[in-house]
Amino acid sequence: MEAAALMDSSVYRADALMAQQSVTTPRPVVTPVPRLNRFVRQLQFRHQLTEWGTPSGSIAQVLPALVAQAMGEECLWVSDKEQNKIYPNSWSGLGFNLNSLYFLNESKPLQSIRTVLCENTFPFVIIDIRQRLNSADLHFLHTAVKQKKITIFLLRPFYLSNKNGNPFSKQRINSSYSISRKSFQLSVVKGRAAQKINLSFQEVLCG
């Protein structure tokens, strides 16, 4: 009885997913910041690996988080700051629906990331880790993106530069914050977009 029910439910699941896929059309990324929207319009995030250089901690991650929020997909945020506690109010304050945001916080999450990507449970995965990724890891992420149509944001704790390129990511963007100028700066290292944009603190966080 139970096995039959499970079989039927898996058919139902497959049908539902197929139906979902057939009606899904790429929606433009619309954040509450108009100038940011214009900047990201030329970038393609869906089903791509995008690398973000975020050397200024949480404050610099606000911009990729706003873009992620605007994508409106069920998302898993993976981090390796196990000794720190996740503060969900930050994400909620950026407009994330916490019902579709999941967190995984462990000291060495690489193996878990592999399991997550193999299972293909989340269409969107944000990886915020300080751990060094070698080319095999990056290749794995690239393959997951291509084969399973997953969107991945890889947040790195340093400035990205062309000196050390990453052939596996479609786009490489630096996001930083300057206290003296009270402004965010986005600069594209790889990808089709204007090279640089400055957004004021007020513009990003207070509309």
């Binding site: 009885m1 139970e2 499970l6 997913l17 304050g93 999941y102 995984l104």
Partner: protein, 493 residues
């Protein structure tokens, strides 16, 4: 007024989880439909531990739009029809006292010690049910040969306690509530002291997640109450003795797969049985044995696992093996054994599981895709070392608490209310506030001033926190606050 406001808000927090269920039943085999952890107190009174299966029942409860307590009540009514009286409680002994009281008054039905009604009754309960529970607990531990030293001269000391309360003309045992257990223990010996401690158990919180390698300290929850497991059948097991020793996961995996295949064909593990815990006892080259325990965050059906080629089980066994190998490498670091650990055999045992009735096990076809998604995420969670977390943020003021972790299957209380973020907040909070030296701070930007819980503090100024984003001299950015004395503390990343 502020205190009153916060008190009302606390009323809105989710229901308290009571981990033990006391049931009177003549058919103990039916109790397995609730949990695998059962303890027999008297011939027909059983205590059921719900800690390991909490997540599962919460998930089923959520699916059926019920609370955890309502769900357990429904299962007891359906699966244990001869149980006329059942009680959810914080501690087995506390529950036993209450249970005896209810029985004496010929009460019937399902009770919970967390209800306001039960708390009022408990405060006004006479000594008779307590004395009876003490004797029942003594007889139970005597049969199990537990606490021998503490129980010495129990009946004499219990009589002494009875005379003592009669002399004081104390009708209710709550009259002695203020007496600390070690004072009772000093006067009436250790066992009665322990019974006293269990009568008013301290509030214990269950860890949010039972991770793969973390054995939840039941002792802590039970506060020294010896748990005597009630086994009805021998646990299903599969033993393997290898001809050659192995030390890598690749070789182990093949043999383990065959073992799991054999285990899955055992009739006692056939549906509706679901496993919660397994033990893997490895025999090493020096014939020493190491036991690894596997916990499943959500109960697992062996039949479903076989269909999926034991993906979850093998993943968890692999985590166990990697942890074990790391420990062995550290142990044998001095003798530089390249291939440690050399394994020559093992025993796989299903140590905990429970029988699931068809009604709860079958998926509802009318479910939304999101529900199926939830199940998918739970299946994924079973394959992970750490747990996937979800949170909800309160849209009302709760003193000292502005968000809460929720279960993967917890039902939404409604549409999420996005906050208007006027100031950035850190994504991660430091475990403890760290004091920063002003010389470490290169530049800073003021964000806002907070002053929560000022009414609790002796010095109201102490509640002021001026929050800043700081750039440190090492070029990292942190969130810090400055108190009214000018000291800096880092609170987030």
């Amino acid at each position: 007024m502020a205190e009153l406001l916060s008190l009302f808000n606390y009323q809105q927090t989710p229901e308290e989880f009571l981990p033990y269920l006391i049931v009177q039943s003549e058919r103990p085999q039916t109790l397995q439909s609730l949990s695998s952890d059962i303890m027999q107190i008297t011939e027909s009174i059983y205590v059921i531990d719900l800690i390991l299966v909490e997540k599962y029942w919460s998930r089923v409860a959520s699916k059926n739009n019920r609370s955890f307590t309502q769900m357990i009540e429904q299962v007891v009514r359906q699966e244990v029809p001869d149980a006329t009286l059942s009680l959810l409680c914080e501690h087995p002994f506390q529950g036993l006292v209450f249970f005896n009281h209810l029985k004496m008054h010929e009460s019937r039905g399902f009770f919970s010690t967390s209800s306001l009604f039960a708390q009022k009754i408990y405060k006004n309960m006479g000594w008779h049910p307590w004395m009876l529970a003490a004797r029942q607990a003594h007889d139970c531990f005597e049969a199990a040969h537990c606490l021998k030293k503490e129980r010495k001269n129990f009946h004499g000391k219990l009589g002494q306690l009875q005379r003592f309360v009669e002399r004081l003309d104390m009708q209710e045992f709550s009259g002695l509530q203020q007496a600390h257990f070690f004072e009772i223990s000093r006067r009436f010996k250790g066992f009665i002291g322990s019974l006293w401690r269990w009568t008013f158990p301290e509030q214990q919180t269950t860890p949010e997640e039972l991770t793969l390698f973390l054995t939840f300290d039941h002792y802590q929850r039970l506060q020294g109450f010896p748990w005597v497991p009630f086994f009805q059948d021998e646990p299903a097991s599969q033993q393997t003795l290898l001809e050659h020793s192995v030390s890598d996961w690749g070789s182990l995996r093949e043999s383990l797969f065959l073992d799991l295949e054999k285990l899955s064909r055992k009739p006692e593990l056939a549906p509706p049985y679901k496993i919660v815990q397994m033990q893997w006892t490895l025999t090493l080259y020096d014939m020493s044995q190491v036991t690894e325990t596997l916990f499943f965050k959500y109960p697992l059906s062996f039949e479903e696992e076989r269909e999926r080629e034991f993906e979850t089980l093998l993943k968890q066994l692999q985590f166990c093996f990697e942890g074990f190998r790391q420990r062995m490498r550290e142990r044998d670091a001095e003798i530089a054994m390249i291939n440690t650990p050399l394994i020559v055999g093992w025993l796989l045992e299903v140590t905990k599981g429970f029988v699931l009735s068809e009604k709860e096990g079958v998926l509802d076809f009318e479910e939304q895709v999101s529900r199926l998604k939830n199940i998918e995420i739970q299946e994924l969670d079973n394959k992970m070392k750490s747990s996937i977390q979800t949170f909800k943020v309160f849209d009302h003021f709760v003193s000292g608490l502005d968000y809460q972790e929720k279960g993967l299957s917890a039902k939404d209380s409604g549409a999420s209310v996005p906050l208007v973020l006027d100031q950035p907040r850190p994504f991660y909070l430091s475990p403890e506030e760290e004091e920063l030296s002003p010389t470490d701070i290169k530049s800073f930007q003021f964000l806002d001033r907070t002053s929560s819980d000022w009414w609790r503090r002796q010095d109201a100024l102490d509640s002021y926190r001026d929050c800043y984003i700081c750039e440190l001299t090492n070029k990292s950015f942190v969130f810090a606050y400055r108190n009214y004395k000018g000291q800096w503390f880092q609170y987030g990343l």
